[in-house]
Symmetry: C2
Subunit: 111 residues, 2 copies
């Protein structure tokens, strides 16, 4: 089963910031980490993640730096900022509140 595009919309930022709270990573690497960690449920495309990374950097949640490679395309690493960590905490908070609320509604009867 593929997860619907619309479901993804609320959590992509959270997923990315969460990865980067562990260590600096580059876009292509984040895609794979999310894929692995989610047990192949999430398979973000490149056209999805790069614009998000750009956006997050512009908003001050991330900072980037290039690392030159030989025989491979250069890698653009992202580092989470203090502001990004705050954002992540907010997002996780909201996520918990949100999932709890949805479950409260759909568990009206025994599903």
């Amino acid at each position: 089963m593929k997860i619907s595009k619309e479901l993804m919309k609320g959590s992509t930022v959270q997923l990315i910031l969460s990865c980067l709270s562990d260590e600096d990573m580059y876009g292509y690497q984040i895609i794979k980490k999310i894929k692995t960690k989610s047990k192949n449920i999430f398979n973000m495309g490149e056209g999805t993640i790069y614009p998000i990374l750009h956006r997050l950097e512009k908003q001050g949640f991330l900072k980037s730096y290039w690392e030159k490679q030989i025989g491979l395309p250069d890698k653009k690493y992202y580092k989470i900022t203090e502001k990004g960590i705050s954002k992540l905490h907010e997002e996780i908070n909201e996520w918990k509140k949100y999932t709890k609320a949805v479950n409260n509604v759909i568990n009206m009867k025994s599903v």
Copy 2:
């Protein structure tokens, strides 16, 4: 805290179908039920729910019928169809898979 618009996007259909799997309801009533059940976390506007109900009916997940009122605007009740029940089960399935996957990713480290 208000839940972000984008987070809502994946679950509105599920919430509505879930309400209607209990009993026939009209739009205005669904808004309040969701508000109550979610403990005021969700407060859908009318401009949100009516288009969704129309869409779901067009897609064959719901059927509607009017009930005349005296001294009040008439009420348009919605009844979930067999197809709607299947849809609800699919959505709940996807929801569980989705939340589990997100938690797998964000629990990489102790959050």
